[in-house]
């Protein structure tokens, strides 16, 4: 529970509640706030990873709208929205205000509680029944964005703003050193900030934006050996030594500075052409300093020694200039035909180096000779250059009878050049090289106006001349249907079918992936106060690709299969002062990871007066896996909420 946020919101809400008339002519305010309790049985970590609701106060909804057409010299509109916080892992606060063509102000705050403790992820001891895995975290992310535009709608409107994204909290991770893996407890704080100034302009028929921003990132991590983790994950004994660590500490700090320039322009070129262009340039430079200090009884095949301590210092620097340009035209070719033509070019370079200074303490050869301390230095370099060019075209044909048509295509070219340093090579070959790939895409679609309904078909095919990584396709086809149709007065059906087929049939790859997805939604509205919804969604994804076992070098096949089925039903009832919204959904996967995920939800509302209503919420989840019962959980959430409306 993060009290300062909750208290801040409550203060804001109370301030608004006690003076709704202070704002002028048109003020509407809705506040729904309440308290919820959550009960979890089974794997609570899994529940928190997936859902993470908690006991506590929750702002279900807050919205304040003030419109003051006559103006107050301060603002003529004010909107404040808030939701979440407290027992909800998400929180949101937004403020929009402005005064005619004097200014506009936008403030946005989001908060996310992020938790992960999975039983089967990064868990070397799952077979022994030990959960969760060794990579867990409990972190908070807060984002703030703030922007002011002065003289909006004028020829030149200055804008300036600020963005902040902070991510911090503890985590558990691992560190591979000395022929063993050790669990580390770590505290991490990462902050990205950006200040920007610029101008929106409207010159004649052209409008645009020019913004210069300065983005910076700072990340600091302090890590140390987790309690009881000194013996490492491995129980192998290397030449009579079972690697152990008595202490590990790490301090790392990364700073990134990125000036960002953005230019956008749009406007008509004659009566029939509308142009849109943009250019973005970002030059990022990153610096990292890391220091690891270990002590214990460890083994290194790098220096062919036993050692009892290590001081590892890494200094690195990365330059990453990039730019992106877009130019597109919408051309009116007559009453029935229009053309969209676009070109995008993107360039990205990366040049990085790191200097690793490793001081091995109290080393001893495998033969037992004391060799004292050994210092090794390694400088490693890395570089990359990537260019992407996309040319696309789309023709839209107006109504011919009940039909509309569209067709088009695109060509995407990628040039990727990777260079590796000799010192970087861990396993020779395939970590660098020059790669060119061109993807050609063609599509065609039609929609039919069926009176109150609509039907749409969309087909797309892509082919390439080469691949960069093995899972790239050489051919991919997609076909989609959508039908929306009301019938028998009370019914409306919406159905979609989508099939995607990707492959690389060359004999030395043999990659194949197919997805079939069907979904039907049936709405039944027998009266204005009663409606039902039924949804059935079924999909099957299957992919196969051969790979070589690294331990036998035999060829095997990687087969992945997902067969999901969702059934969902809900009812909405509003009768006088009483309202009910309830639903049930069950999702089942019969693919590679057999699981079932069910949800029951009900919300009853009762109007106590024209301005106050009460709501009772019940929500249950039931998650179960066929082959890992340690992952299962059941949860119940009960909430009582009150809504105030002015």
């Amino acid at each position: 529970m993060h009290k300062r946020h909750m208290i801040g919101c409550l203060v804001l809400v109370l301030a608004v509640l006690v003076s709704p008339q202070a704002f002028g002519q048109s003020t509407t305010m809705d506040l729904e706030i309440g308290y919820q309790v959550v009960d979890v049985t089974g794997n609570e970590d899994m529940y928190r990873t997936q859902l993470n609701q908690d006991d506590g106060f929750v702002i279900r909804d807050f919205s304040l709208r003030v419109l003051n057409p006559e103006g107050t010299k301060l603002f003529d509109r004010l909107t404040i929205d808030a939701s979440g916080f407290g027992g909800n892992p998400y929180g949101h606060l937004r403020l929009d205000t402005g005064l005619g063509d004097t200014y506009r102000l936008h403030l946005n705050f989001n908060r996310f509680e992020s938790f992960s403790a999975l039983p089967a992820y990064a868990n070397p001891f799952l077979e022994n029944g030990i959960v969760p895995g060794q990579h867990t975290w409990e972190r908070d992310r807060e984002t703030i964005s703030f922007e002011v535009e002065l003289m909006p709608g004028k020829k030149f409107s200055p804008i300036f703003g600020y963005i902040r994204n902070q991510y911090d909290g503890p985590r558990q991770t691992t560190f591979y050193e000395g022929q063993d893996e050790f669990r580390l407890r770590s505290d991490l704080e990462e902050t990205e900030e950006e200040y920007y100034v610029g101008v929106n302009f409207a010159l004649g028929k052209f409008a645009g934006t020019l913004i210069q921003g300065w983005r910076s990132f700072e990340g600091t991590e302090h890590a140390e050996l987790a309690a009881g983790a000194g013996s490492g994950n491995n129980d192998y004994v290397y030449l009579g030594v079972d690697p152990t660590a008595t202490s590990i500490s790490r301090v790392s700090r990364t700073e990134v500075d990125t000036p960002v320039t953005t230019f956008r322009l749009t406007g008509p070129l004659g009566d029939r052409v509308r142009m849109k262009a943009s250019y973005v340039r970002a030059d990022a430079e990153s610096d990292t300093v890391l220091a690891d200090m270990l002590s214990g009884s460890l083994v290194s095949y790098r220096i062919y020694r036993f050692f009892e301590g290590l001081t590892d210092t890494v200094v690195s620097n990365t330059d990453n200039p990039s730019w992106r340009g877009d130019l597109s035209f919408a051309v009116d070719l007559g009453e029935k035909v229009s053309l969209d033509l676009g070109y995008t070019s993107r360039h990205r370079e990366l040049t990085g180096w790191s200097l690793v200074s490793s001081l091995y303490l109290d080393t001893m050869t495998f033969g037992g000779i004391d060799t004292g301390d050994i210092l090794t230095l390694a400088e490693m370099n890395n570089s990359m250059e990537r260019d992407d060019d996309v040319l696309d075209l789309r023709l839209n044909f107006g109504k011919v009878g009940i039909f509309r048509f569209w067709a088009g295509g695109s060509i995407t070219s990628t040039d990727l050049d990777l260079t590796e340093d000799v010192a970087e090579i861990v396993v020779q070959t395939h970590q660098s090289g020059q790669f060119d790939r061109e993807v050609s895409k063609y599509f065609f679609g039609t929609s039919a106006d069926l009176g109150k309904g609509k039907f749409m078909v969309d087909w797309q095919t892509e082919s390439t001349d080469d691949i960069i990584v093995r899972t790239n396709f050489t051919d991919r086809d997609r076909l989609r249907f959508r039908l929306q149709m009301p019938f028998l007065k009370y019914f409306e059906v919406l159905g979609t079918v989508e099939t995607i087929s990707s492959d690389n049939s060359s004999t030395d790859v043999g990659y194949e992936a197919d997805t079939d997805h069907y979904a039907v939604d049936l709405g039944i509205t027998p009266s204005d106060f009663l409606s039902f919804h039924l949804t059935w969604d079924s999909y099957e994804t299957e992919s196969t690709i051969p790979f070589r076992d690294p331990y036998t070098f035999d060829l095997s096949t990687s087969l992945f299969n997902d067969e999901g089925t969702l059934l969902e039903g809900s009812v909405d009832l509003h009768s006088g002062r009483f309202g009910l919204r309830a639903g049930y959904s069950t999702f089942e996967n019969d693919g590679s990871l057999l699981l079932e995920f069910d949800r029951i939800f009900a919300r009853c509302t009762l109007e106590l007066s024209s301005q106050i209503s009460a709501a009772l919420e019940v929500e249950t989840y039931d998650y179960s896996e066929d082959f890992l019962s340690a992952a299962d959980f059941e949860s119940e959430r009960y909430g009582l909420f009150f809504r105030f409306h002015y």
């Binding site: 591979y176 790392s252 990022a284 877009d326 999909y539 070098f553 999901g564």
Partner: protein, 286 residues
């Protein structure tokens, strides 16, 4: 935090200066319409379009000249914006869409999904800054039911009202597929807008912006696999690329010390922890 306070203070000062030059608008001339259409005018008054006294649109800006309609009382003599004509009325003012510069026209409009199909000018406007008829995620799911169903899977993003919804990542006013993604000012996709620590640049990058992107390994809408991965087993995901049977593809093969017949070693990320990229380890160990 000091920087933030400083920034807000400067902004507040500038706003105050601007307010000092505040301009007083002319009165509106919609009283004649309101005489009969009090309910519609009342609903509109609660929206940002209700600021008619400050020069935002009045009734006739969208409905056209109402003189004949007022004189005859014939409903057919007034324009009720809908469909493509309705869109034209909106575009009279909202003719630029500067959120995303990857496309000129909206793929929705080309499929005959026009402004009024999503935006409610007189209706539920008081509930929404964007005049949407309902919350964005619910609105999108009325057509995109398969995508909406994906969010019922156990792993992935949870749609949570205004905190996170479809328009957090997609701009419905631009193109289809990848063109619908909301780019930030540096031209990067929506993932790193929140997951800023994955933006890099990394001295030793992996997948992102080299040979792929976030979607090479993750399913954004929802997944049955932990960490919203595209495969249920991590080693399977890794080895599909890192097994260069094919000549000329990128990605080396793990050395033989990776004895994957033992489930204990099928967790590649136990050692390769910096899987999104590292500044200090080419093998992504830290």
């Amino acid at each position: 935090m000091k920087d933030l306070i400083r920034c807000i203070s400067v902004a507040a000062l500038l706003v105050l200066v601007a307010v000092g030059f505040a301009w007083a608008g002319d009165g509106g001339d919609d009283e004649a319409c309101m005489a009969c259409h009090e309910d519609l005018a009342g609903a509109l008054a609660k929206t940002v379009h209700g600021l008619t006294l400050r020069g935002t649109p009045g009734c006739q800006d969208c409905h056209g000249d109402g003189t004949a309609h007022m004189e005859e009382g014939d409903p057919s003599l007034i324009s009720i914006p809908a469909g493509k004509d309705g869109q034209s009325a909106c575009l009279t003012c909202h003719d630029t869409n500067m959120l995303n510069a990857t496309g000129v026209t909206s793929v929705h409009a080309e499929a005959e999904i026009f402004c009024m199909d999503c935006h409610s000018i007189h209706g539920a406007a008081a509930e929404s800054t964007s005049l949407l008829g309902m919350c964005a995620d619910k609105l999108c799911s009325t057509c995109h039911i398969a995508e909406a169903s994906s969010f019922r899977k156990p792993y992935g993003h949870r749609l949570e009202g205004d905190v996170m919804n479809c328009v957090s990542c997609h701009n419905p006013h631009t193109g289809a597929g990848a063109k619908s993604l909301v780019l930030d000012r540096s031209g990067q996709g929506p993932c790193v807008t929140c997951h800023a620590e994955k933006r890099g640049p990394f001295t030793y990058p992996h997948v992102g912006d080299t040979a792929g992107d976030c979607m090479s390994c993750h399913e954004a809408h929802g997944s049955t696999s932990p960490m919203a991965l595209t495969r249920s087993r991590v080693d399977q995901l890794c080895l599909e690329c890192h097994s260069p049977i094919t000549a000329g593809t990128l990605g080396s093969m793990p050395p033989s010390i990776h004895e994957l017949s033992n489930p204990r070693y099928r967790n590649c990320t136990v050692c390769h922890v910096a899987i999104h990229g590292s500044n200090t380890s080419p093998t992504l160990f830290r």
